[in-house]
């Protein structure tokens, strides 16, 4: 069923269909409406979920960890400072191999305080051990919320999954979204099978043990195995979803007019939509340009990205956050991915859109037009739309 809804509503609808056992969530702009919609569902009896209206994001994820270890299916959502507050527990959720799904309404981190979109919150959680997926649209946010549940819960993976959607740009704008029938969505997500739950009181387990020099290393290596299994599981789940939903998902990223492109942008999230218009505009003028938009950011599909970019002349990687003191995180991912190739495209890194600064089609056309003049890979940042 096609509906005109916001990104918030799209995420909340996916959650309603999943109907987790526990939702623990704390309000923060621009995430709050997800919590508000879900509270309406609970208070109107549309779902049987236990809603925990916690007193902080730290407690939100802590309650999710408790509920997931107890044997429940759990979801939460946050943004920006909320992510910063709970990131301690996100590392723990990954270390405990708990399949918690979290929607992250991307928003700039303080200071200065700001409520608008950038990806500094997602980047803060980059090394947490959570799988991270980026959505371009409310449709993708809805779709990947459903897929995230399956990826997280797969016994080969058993890791938290963060579904990123750009704050305001996606969360607050009304867009057409195709929703699956409840029964179809529920059947796709399936019943949750907990592993060694606390509530199996006949078989007591110790969760969150203390591991020293003799075991810590091996346990973290085992966690890495879950991450290594994630790409194959991602593709399996995506293939099944594409089939039942009739959507054109195929792969770790969307390759838009990429096959013969000489000049390529790599960008996460909603700016990919803007980039597509820029690509179309320049293609009409005869310039061979294209776009690579990762859905899966962690684990980073390095080999596939390298193969898709190998033929390009110049690749501009756009990062919507500074990684102070070095290049953008996505740029470094792409640079590392390309390193093993004998013949590599030239790379350049643009920082854009911090604190919600608008990035327009003309901005991205200008970027494309600069690329033929980039003579060698630059280890220096360029900025889009910045007043110097």
């Amino acid at each position: 069923m096609r509906k005109a809804i916001t990104g918030h509503k799209a995420v909340a609808e996916a959650m309603r269909q999943i109907e987790p056992d526990v939702v623990a969530v704390y309000p923060i702009t621009p995430q709050s409406e997800i919590a508000e919609y879900y509270a309406e569902y609970v208070h109107n009896g549309l779902v049987r979920t236990e809603l925990i209206p916690v007193e902080s994001e730290h407690s939100a994820l802590s309650a999710c960890v408790g509920a997931a270890a107890a044997g429940g299916r759990v979801i939460t959502a946050t943004s920006s400072q909320g992510l910063a507050l709970l990131v301690e527990v996100l590392y723990i959720a990954a270390g405990l191999r708990l399949p918690i799904v979290m929607a992250l309404a991307n928003r700039a981190l303080s200071a200065p305080i700001n409520i608008h979109c950038d990806h500094s919150d997602a980047y803060l959680a980059r090394d947490s051990g959570a799988i991270q997926i980026f959505a371009e649209s409310a449709q993708e946010a809805y779709d990947y919320m459903l897929m995230a549940q399956r990826i997280a819960e797969d016994m080969r993976v058993r890791l938290p999954v963060v579904v990123n959607l750009d704050g305001f740009t996606l969360t607050h704008t009304v867009q057409p979204v195709d929703l699956l029938d409840d029964a179809v969505a529920k059947a796709f997500v399936g019943e949750y099978k907990p592993y060694a739950p606390l509530l199996d009181v006949e078989h007591p387990v110790t969760w969150g043990a203390f591991a020293m020099t003799d075991y810590y290393f091996e346990l973290k290596r085992a966690q890495q195995a879950g991450m290594e299994a994630a790409p194959a599981v991602f593709l399996e789940v995506q293939r099944e979803f594409a089939k039942i939903a009739g959507r054109p998902y195929a792969g770790f990223f969307e390759a838009y007019k990429l096959a013969d492109a000489e000049y390529v942008l790599v960008v996460l999230g909603s700016t990919a939509g803007t980039a597509k218009v820029a690509v179309d505009t320049l293609r009409a003028r005869g310039m061979r340009v294209g776009l690579l938009k990762p859905w899966l950011w962690r684990p980073f599909p390095a080999q596939e990205v390298a193969a898709a970019l190998a033929h390009a002349k110049v690749v501009a990687v756009l990062d919507r956050a500074l990684s102070f003191g070095t290049m953008g995180a996505l740029f470094e991912d792409v640079a590392a991915a390309l390193y093993p190739l004998e013949k590599r495209p030239i790379l350049v890194n643009y920082i854009y859109g911090l604190g919600g600064r608008d990035t327009t089609v003309p901005d991205l056309i200008r970027v494309f037009e600069e690329l033929p003049h980039v003579a060698r890979t630059e280890w220096a940042l360029r900025y889009i739309g910045l007043r110097e």
Binding site: A24, E55, S59, G66, V89, L198, P204
Partner: protein, 315 residues
């Protein structure tokens, strides 16, 4: 009310907290943990924040816990148990679990009075059905005896040392039991490791109430208090006799003092037995400081008597 025999029989039937942990010789924590767990008949799930108990009982691949147990971080045990309890309710609604399961937190004073205070207050306000037991040893013992807001005035701690200018901790301890009572939860109590039957009775009474229950247990620490390893029980008993640590309950807002010492034992009788207060008996300022400590003990005791008088349960 559970007698020693009943507690022992339950332990025989199924040990919930086993030996083989690495808590210090003379530590009072295992006595409190075993007494609390044996005073509950139903199956339990336990959450413990970071601290002595967690570190000493869960070193991978071993465990001292023969009940389901979880540790997540230092500041969030009350939030973690909120999630466990909520999942229990959800699975019960779905008919996936039929047993009655009880939820217990064992946390130190650092994880309760200080870093875990917000999560505790949130869980109390939301009304989750759980028992929170504070193993109050009055400082951050696990990390090396740093001061907490439960540390008594003048006690030496590694972050409140006895210096040339400042003699130990300058501030009074936070009255957390009263702060918890102010949340209006059904059951709040203070207990002490020297009075284990009183503790068991309190646990049994607490578990009759639906909602949050809180018991603040004075849990002596030979390492941090600098007392002999065989003195945990005497130390605790003296704390009760000097009225430093009154045994009392607040049941649905009604106060009951469980034990009123017949004679007023001066606080210095307790202070002088502990290394952490030794300076008070050597320093010329000591006399005045002891008088201040005594005045605060008296003030809190009088206040408690008045509360019992005004809002008592009656006999």
């Amino acid at each position: 009310m559970p007698s020693i025999r009943v507690l022992a029989e339950r332990e025989e039937k199924g040990v919930r907290f086993t030996s083989g942990h690495t808590l210090c010789a003379g530590c009072a924590e295992p006595m409190v943990v075993r007494t609390v767990l044996n005073a509950i008949e139903d199956p339990v799930v336990v959450a413990t924040p970071t601290g002595c108990l967690e570190v000493a009982t869960s070193r991978f691949p071993g465990t001292a816990w023969n009940v389901p147990w979880i540790h997540v971080a230092f500041e969030n045990a009350a939030a973690v148990i909120s999630g466990v309890e909520a999942a229990y309710k959800a699975l019960k609604k779905k008919g996936l679990i039929d047993k009655r399961v009880r939820f217990v937190v064992f946390a130190g004073d650092g994880g309760t009075y200080d870093i875990g205070f917000q999560a505790l207050s949130g869980a109390l306000e939301r009304g989750h059905d759980f028992l929170y037991v504070c193993l109050n040893n009055e400082a951050y013992m696990n990390t090396g005896v740093q001061r907490s807001s439960a540390t008594p005035k003048c006690a030496a701690a590694t972050t409140a040392p006895v210096g040339e200018v400042i003699p130990g901790k300058p501030q009074e301890r936070k009255d957390l039991t009263e702060i918890v009572a102010a949340h209006g939860i059904p059951y709040v109590a203070q207990a002490a490791v020297s009075h284990l039957i009183d503790l068991a009775n309190k646990v049994e009474r607490a578990m009759k109430y639906e909602g949050p229950k809180f018991i603040n247990v004075l849990t002596t620490c030979p390492l941090g208090w600098r007392t002999p390893r065989d003195s945990a029980i005497q130390q605790s008993k003296l704390a009760v006799e000097t009225r430093y640590w009154p045994l009392y309950e607040v049941i649905e807002g009604r106060y009951k003092i469980n034990y009123k010492p017949k004679e007023r034992v001066p606080i210095e009788e307790w202070l002088k037995t502990q290394g952490r207060f030794r300076h008070l008996f050597r320093d010329p300022r000591g006399k005045e400081l002891i008088a201040q400590i005594q005045a605060e003990v008296d003030r809190r005791w009088e206040l408690l008597l008045k509360k019992e008088q005004c809002f008592g349960v009656g006999d």
